[in-house]
Amino acid sequence: MEQPSLNRTEQLQEQLKIVKAESPWRIAIRRFAKNRLALIGLIILFLMAIICAFGPFFSPYELNQTDIKNKNLAPNAQYWLGTDKLGRDVLLRVMLAGRISLTVGLVATAISVVIGATLGAVAGFYRRFADTIIMRIADIFLALPTLPILITLGAILSDLKIEPSKRIYFLMLIIGILGWVGLARLVRSQILTLREQEFMQATEALGLRDSRKIFRHLLPNTVPIIIVSATLGVAGAILTESALSFLGLGVVPPTPSWGNMINAANNLIDFRKRPWIWIPPGMCILVTVTAINLIGDGLRDALDPKMKSR
């Protein structure tokens, strides 16, 4: 009888070793690396970011350098993507617009995540009153027609004659503030289940402060869903920004963004005869957003296979 029980412990130890060597993150990375579409997405996004970030340094042109002699040129050896009606290099503008669009998407999402995670955690942790209030507000935001609100706010920004360079900060803020609800709900429900688990009783026994419990012990456990939701959020924010900018209510010229570059299509001749002005930024949006969505989906599968996709 002695022999088998020893074997058991050995086997258990063997298994424990395996478990120890494979942290959840490592497993997630391995799963992600197996997802070919997600990897392709990652490579595309990486290239896109690199080109937008560093490409402009290698460009012989400058942002608002107009050149009337060389206006409306089709793509050629000198201007790879041609020039617009002011003789500006489209390629340079696409790269600079990419910086703006990616930044707006990232920062806006970061704002949503901070608000959403905090409010979700607070609602889930304190329950009762705080939960009721926060979830009521969430209900209101959820039923708020986002696009009309964004459009109205965009118009207000125009009326207040805010400088185009500062305007993007407001834009990030607005898009960020309107996008927190989804994440807040996810975090809240996760926290509600987490706080019932044993390790939270341990923190209770240790007499930790609430803020420490929330930010050190509870929120870290929701990081997987936050990462997934944030990734998909960036894709959404980029689409929102581009739509607003296309309507002339988001990022406004002379600051280039992919959306406002497509605005050139409102000019019939540019639209019809000079597609090189507006098709490249459109393709950039499409490719970037697709890449981010692929990454987000890969992350979802890797981090939380149970999380259902919508």
Binding site: I140, P148, L153, I156, R272, W278
Partner: protein
Amino acid sequence: MSQYIIRRLLQMIPTLIGISIIVFAISQLVPGDYITATQNPNLTAERIAQLRALYGLDLPPVQQYFVWAKNMLVGDLGQSLQHQMPVTEVINTYVWNSFIIAFFSFIFSWIIAAFVGVFSAQFQYSFFDKVVTLLVFLLMSLPSFFIGLLAIKYFALDMKLLPTGGMTTAGLNATGWAYIKDVGLHMFMPVVVMTTLSVGGLTRYFRTGMLEVIRQDYIRTARAKGLKERTVIFKHAFRNALLPAITLLGFELPGLFGGAMILERVFNWPGIGQIYLASLNLRDYPLMLGFTMFLAVLTLLGNLISDVLYGVADPRIRLK
């Protein structure tokens, strides 16, 4: 059942009040008003003051809110300044134009998504499934205005297959079948583009739903009964996969009646979305506010409808 609905309707009230306050507050942030936006140089200062008093624009904001809110309660969204008729009438006039394109694209996208999603799930990991998965991601990432513009450029301008925009051919006073045909031609591109935009996410939804369902024990039972694979998939599995999709049905409500602002602008379709965008330029507050509230109510009703539909469809939670 009716009790449940009444309770839910009552719960909507505080949410609606919250929304109305936010919407009103935002509209108050807009500098200038309808009178300044019209930029009519013939107006004397006296006449401007008169007009402001007429439209209630001279009242303090809080008072304006209560006047607006009180009227809203009795279904009066005010008078559109630009259209010179009640906002409800403006909405009623244009919402149906929005509805017809939204409705067709709704039907097409649901049918396509259901079929593609089911087959994609049934043959998971097949070549077809892989192509569908990639396409779904592309479609979900499409910027609506860009795809609309591309469609107009290639199919309308370059190939001249379809009209570039609008709802009818200008100057063509067709009636009967000729009119329907004309509208149909104009609808074609907006409907296709709208379908393209919504079919991706839906397909994905159906695919995941089906994948979940075909792993269930009762599907094994259905197979063990010797039923045809078609019966197993389309009767036993699909009915179950439809349950979660039914909740989406309610969420479609604002989309059906709310107008697709950006696409309507791109295709110059005279829908409510486009009218809303135009009302913004003219600072037509009653219309802006009214339409936004209209959308909020649609969203809330949509949520309610999806809950009720889910209860009706799923015998396990059938509402008493």
